[in-house]
């Protein structure tokens, strides 16, 4: 049961309607940042208040919610947000990507491909891709309106010229639907290609910065690059130590004070499913040998 003192989803119905209107506008103009009347939530700014407001505005009693932080369902902030919605809505929660109708995420996209009807809600700290190049909101809005995006490539150029490669490892800027440049939130570069023509609806909420944006299902999302320096994702020279997957984003775990390290899937649900299906990694056997 939900907490009787509060409305379903914490926000009052008027506020939820306002947020849904902003979401509709965002879906209609993929990649465009829609200003919205973000409210103070009972969780601090920076903890995912944008994502929480988006989820609160779209969630219904029949929904099944999954919350991940850094790919994991059991990190403290993911637990805290999941508990918040259980308390305020009383709907079902899950750790399984396949079972969820809404997945709220911080910093990862699940490894398992999403399907039509699912909604991925991203928590966004800084929504403006032009922010580090131009601090003024009045100017960046104009640059978006007029598609003055040359400066984005200046940064990529500078990275390649001085460092040999693009030095942006996460929150990699993308062009959405051939029109707006967008920040995908601090997901690793590894996840960026998953946004492209994804079957799920992708919604982005930035609470402190008061912006909502969206990528509708099956929309083009293209990372910025040069023809002769194409976009490339991170790779690892070994598979997951727990499930043996060779195509996932791996967390590096320091396991002892001699610098011993293990590499395991960041997506805990995906890793568990593989292990349940009988897949096994070397469990860090190589680690013992290296010592």
């Amino acid at each position: 049961m939900n907490d009787a003192a509060y409305n379903f989803g914490y926000l009052d119905e008027q506020t939820k309607r306002m947020i849904r209107r902003s979401i509709l506008k965002a879906v209609a103009i993929p990649g465009y940042q829609v200003p919205f009347g973000s409210r103070e939530m009972p969780l601090p700014y920076g903890w995912g208040t944008g994502g929480i407001q988006v989820t609160a505005a779209i969630i219904g009693i029949g929904d099944v919610l999954k919350v991940i932080d850094q790919g994991a369902d059991d990190t403290t902030n993911a637990v805290s947000i999941r508990r918040f919605f259980s308390r305020m809505c009383g709907m079902a929660t899950t750790e399984k990507t396949a079972e969820a109708s809404i997945i709220q995420t911080r910093h990862r996209i699940p490894e398992r491909p999403l399907s039509e009807g699912q909604i991925l809600v991203y928590q966004v700290p800084i929504p403006e891709p032009l922010r580090w190049l131009e601090p003024r909101e009045s100017e960046t809005r104009k640059m978006h309106a007029l598609r003055e995006y040359g400066v984005m490539h200046v940064k990529l150029y500078e990275d390649i010229a001085t460092k040999g490669k693009v030095a942006t490892a996460y929150d990699y800027p993308v062009l959405v639907n051939g029109r707006y440049i967008m920040r995908p939130s601090p997901i690793p570069k590894f996840d960026t290609p998953k946004m492209h023509r994804n079957a799920a609806l992708q919604l982005f909420g930035a609470g402190r910065e008061k912006r909502i944006y969206a990528v509708p299902p099956h929309t083009d999302v293209v990372p910025l690059d040069f023809e002769d320096h194409p976009f490339a994702v991170e790779t690892w020279d070994r598979p997951c130590a727990l499930c043996g997957a060779g195509n996932t984003f791996l967390d590096e775990i320091v396991v002892n004070d001699r610098g011993g390290r293990l590499f395991v899937c960041s997506d805990t649900d995906y890793c568990n499913e593989r292990q349940e299906a009988g897949h096994r990694g070397d469990g860090g056997a190589g680690l013992e040998a290296a010592e």
Binding site: L146, K155, A161, T162, E227
Partner: protein, 258 residues
């Protein structure tokens, strides 16, 4: 030169409150022509240039520009999106202070490459080699392509700005006191370079200067401004050798007596 002006300015005016900065400015600019706008500080010449360059909005008048693909557009009344797109793709603006015209936080190569990227170049190698060629063209050692402009001398910064503005082969380049603040010997070299590049690339230019020497060296024609109005205009040599307006006579004589 073809038989139609590339730019036709008519009745341009700008006031700040009750102070009139520019009043009823009319002139034509022809393809390949260099026009100097001279006058002392406060005469309105920089306001005129900033109105043309889209930095400030004029209050009155038209600025009809013939686009590269043909067709005339009044920049004074065009929408901001269209105006900024044209200025970006077909115009250049060399500012008096290199800090206003360059990005000091990124390398010389990025400064020259940015206009190319802004109009759609997406091949790193080609952008870099074009930038390198242009650095050579403005007499900056191509080895300095990855250096920051802050480490450059004033003259080099100004040459870098010129490279950045010419790299897209614009139709019109605006220059605001391009040699201001430089040593006399550096000025002379820079003027030679500007004259050569403007001729070689066939661009039209409007150069604002308080220095009649700069006008004599660079310009085909001149406008003399005083208190926001054009007091005299004509071919540079004629105007300097035989000034008609009293103010121009004063300007010319004061230069000669120095």
């Amino acid at each position: 030169m073809t038989d139609a002006p590339i730019l036709r300015v008519d009745g341009l005016g700008k006031a700040y409150g009750r102070r009139i900065a520019c009043r009823d400015i009319c002139f034509d600019l022809w393809p390949g022509e260099v026009l100097a706008v001279v006058g002392e500080s406060g005469s309105g010449k920089t306001t005129l240039l900033n109105c043309l360059g889209g930095l400030i909005a004029a209050d009155a008048g038209t600025v009809r520009y013939t686009r590269r693909g043909g067709g005339e557009i009044d920049l004074a009344t065009a929408g901001e999106a269209e105006r900024r797109a044209i200025l970006r793709a077909e115009w250049g603006f060399v500012r008096q202070n290199p800090r206003d015209g360059l990005r000091f936080g990124v390398s010389a190569g990025a400064n020259v490459g940015e206009p190319l990227m802004a109009i759609g170049s997406r091949h790193f190698g080609k952008i870099r080699s074009t930038a390198s060629e242009w650095l050579e063209a403005v007499e900056i050692d191509a080895h300095r392509i990855d250096d920051l402009p802050s480490g450059f001398s004033g003259g080099m910064q100004q040459r870098l700005q010129i490279a950045r503005n010419l790299v897209t082969h614009p139709s019109i380049v605006l220059m605001d006191e391009p040699t201001g603040g430089l040593d006399v010997s550096v000025q002379a070299k820079l003027l030679d370079l500007i004259r050569r590049l403007v001729r070689e690339n066939g661009v039209s230019a409007i150069v604002v200067t308080h220095d009649l020497g700069v006008a004599r060296l660079l310009a085909d024609r001149m406008l003399v401004m005083k208190e926001g109005e054009v007091v005299e205009s004509g071919l540079t040599d004629q105007l300097l050798d035989d000034p008609q307006a009293a103010y121009t006579q004063l300007l010319v004589s004061s230069v000669l007596t120095v």
